[in-house]
Amino acid sequence: MPDRQDRATADAPTVCRLHGSDPARLLEILQDLQQAQGWIAEPQIQEIASTLNLSRAEVHGVVSFYHDFRRSPAGRLLIKACRGEACQSMGAGDLIEGLCRKQGIAPGGTSEAGVTVEEVYCLGNCALAPAAQVQGRLYGRLDAGRLESLVESSLA
């Protein structure tokens, strides 16, 4: 079974108050929550709306607009693989396809082993393509072999 945190572990109203309960700081609040918890839970959207005096629709709109905010936990290993043009020029398409096939998932999914593969668009490592972030750490000049070893050692 994948090792997933299905509970919301951070306290959304507290995070809001750390930012002065300022609605203009909503992205900062959500980023802090995303980083602490790995995802944003549905009830937390209402909590944030109440604390910041915004409508639930407004908060839902912001959470759903930005790609960073997950609505469910990722697997225990999160891989953000770049599909930007520079990485494509060095085989990122095949690399990601191969990784997903090995894990038995579609891009964006989470495998039985607990590996989540997200496609992102540019990590700023364009002269050392293909690039990916594995558990938050940036890697360049990746190939299928190195990526596989990274996955194995990270899961171990």
Partner: protein
């Protein structure tokens, strides 16, 4: 005491710089060799990373790319046993670096990024010191005279924008630095924030003095966690030293700065979507007028500039407008930081005066493709930029020259492709990227991207090719003329350039085989 430098830049670390640094320290300890290991920014010669440098009487000697496994051999050589591996000679004599004209990037890789003494010892804060002695109008004039144009991609004269904000009625004004460098093929902003953050901050403080803005935001994309950390650290250092805060260096004038993180939306690189994001909202694009200089953040006059634009300002103030203006040609003055990316042998940051040719960049600096297979295409200026082919390599890198040739300079990114590239797939991807990243506000972009992608998929599948290609051309015109911003407006650029230059890739395989 031997002084060694190992870059802490995230790209260098992505190929093992941290491991190399640790291995050097371990090997030195085992040797009993006294080594002072400092972390600098990257020189931007990514093909040489991890690039280890050693101080010597003649200058800094380079060794790279040096893996952790090779570190013991280097340490042994320093201890007098054997030859050092990957020796490159003096770093500043490496042709790839020596041929550049580094104004904005002259401290890159030389200094430790967040050590103020290093910065000041390398002309840091000279621009700000001069600006503090000038009137706001005088600072704006200097920037105008330098010919500096916005380096985000639009190329609008910076001085005019600065003057517009200055001329607004007094009251709360803001500086907003657009550090949402989302274009594939670009990393210059990331390098500045990670390798010379004080330079950007100095530029922003000068902007504040010039326009009457006392608070600034740096909007950094979340895909750049190290840039976020380094900028935050640099701000704290300057606050402690009295260069940020309510009273800058005893001048009586104040400027405060905060970092704001993006959240994975490419469209927030568009200035008005960025403003909405800083206001805590969805990153939708605003209708202009009013322009941000008149009504921007929270409705207040806001100066928005790209990282590279602001990073050029301290040099302009320190050395004068004429010095900067005399680089370049035509209406493209000063230097540009080109970024060689993708399938290129010697990729990285190349800063030269405008007017250098694409061929010089890709072949002389870049060394051609990384795979060694023949060059086929390059995309200039990011995902919204045109593709060029081998016949266009003699084009000069200049705003107007490229525009006339149907291409775009943009933020200076150059992504190289070899003969294996499928241009129909790249065109399809251009629509797909627009579909994913569209803010959704205007129909030509929101719907045009999706329909464009579907239509190209039909073409690729060989269905009614001629009719569908005509449809794509028509759609391209509609998106170009009807979209609210450059996301929808310029998506046709890569698509139509691919169609124009590589029509054979769009033909059904049976037809292509018969050719």
């Amino acid at each position: 005491m031997i002084t060694l430098y190992v870059p802490c830049d995230s790209a260098a670390c992505s190929v093992g710089a941290d491991e190399t640094a640790a291995a050097i320290e371990a090997a030195a300890a085992a040797e009993g060799l006294e080594v002072r290991l400092l972390r600098n920014g990257s020189r931007g010669a990514f093909w040489l990373e991890p690039l280890v440098e050693m101080e010597s009487a003649e200058g800094r000697l380079g060794f790279g790319p040096l893996s952790a496994a090779e570190a013991p051999a280097l340490v042994a050589a320093l201890a007098g046993r054997g030859q050092p591996p990957r020796a490159l000679g003096l770093v500043e004599e490496i042709p790839w670096l020596k041929a550049q004209e580094r104004l904005t990037f002259r401290r890159m890789g030389v200094i430790r990024p967040t050590v103020l003494e290093d910065y000041e010892a390398n002309e840091g804060l000279a621009g700000l010191r001069r600006a503090l002695a000038l009137t706001p109008a005088e600072i704006c004039s200097e920037v105008l005279e330098s010919g500096l144009r916005g380096r985000g991609g639009a190329g609008f004269p910076a001085g005019i924008k600065w003057k517009t904000v200055l001329d607004q009625p007094p009251g709360q004004k803001y500086i907003a630095c657009n550090a949402d460098e989302g274009d594939s093929g670009t990393f210059a902003d990331r390098m500045v924030m990670e390798g010379d953050p004080f330079l950007l901050i100095e530029g922003m403080i000068i902007a504040g003095l010039a326009t009457g803005a006392d608070h600034g935001f740096v909007y950094i994309r979340s895909e750049y966690p190290q840039a976020i950390r380094t900028m935050s650290e640099a701000i704290a250092v300057l606050e402690a030293a009295g260069w940020l805060g309510p009273d800058i260096a005893g001048s009586g004038r104040g400027f405060t700065l905060e970092v704001r993180r993006g959240a994975g939306a490419y469209i927030c690189g568009e200035e008005s979507a960025m403003l909405n994001s800083i206001e805590g909202k969805r990153g939708t694009v605003r209708v202009k007028p009013p322009i941000p200089a008149i009504a921007g953040l929270f409705g207040r006059p806001t100066l928005i500039n790209n990282v590279l634009t602001l990073a050029a300002v301290p040099t302009i103030l320190a050395r004068g407008a004429a010095f900067y203006r005399d680089f370049g040609q035509g209406r493209s003055r000063g230097t540009q930081a080109f970024q060689l990316a993708g399938n290129v042998a010697r990729g990285g940051l190349v800063e030269t005066a405008f007017g250098v040719s694409l061929r010089e960049l890709i072949e002389d600096f870049g060394g051609g493709t990384a795979t060694g297979r023949p060059f086929r295409a390059a995309q200039l200026g990011g995902p919204l930029g045109a593709y060029v082919d081998a016949a266009m390599l003699d084009l000069a890198m200049d705003y107007e020259v490229l525009a006339e040739a149907g291409a775009m300079l943009g933020h200076g990114g150059i992504t190289v492709f070899d003969e294996s590239v499928d241009m129909a797939e790249m065109a399809r991807f251009a629509f797909e990227f627009c579909e994913i990243e569209s803010c959704g506000k205007c129909t030509p972009c929101r719907l045009g991207a999706l329909r464009g992608k579907e239509t190209l998929e039909k073409v690729i599948a060989g269905r009614e090719v001629a009719a569908n290609l005509a449809l794509v051309e028509d759609l391209g015109e509609l998106m170009r003329d009807g979209s609210l911003c450059a996301m929808g407006g310029l998506t046709p650029m890569p698509v139509l350039s691919a169609l124009r230059l590589f029509p054979q890739d769009f033909m059904p395989s049976t037809q292509a085989a018969a050719e």
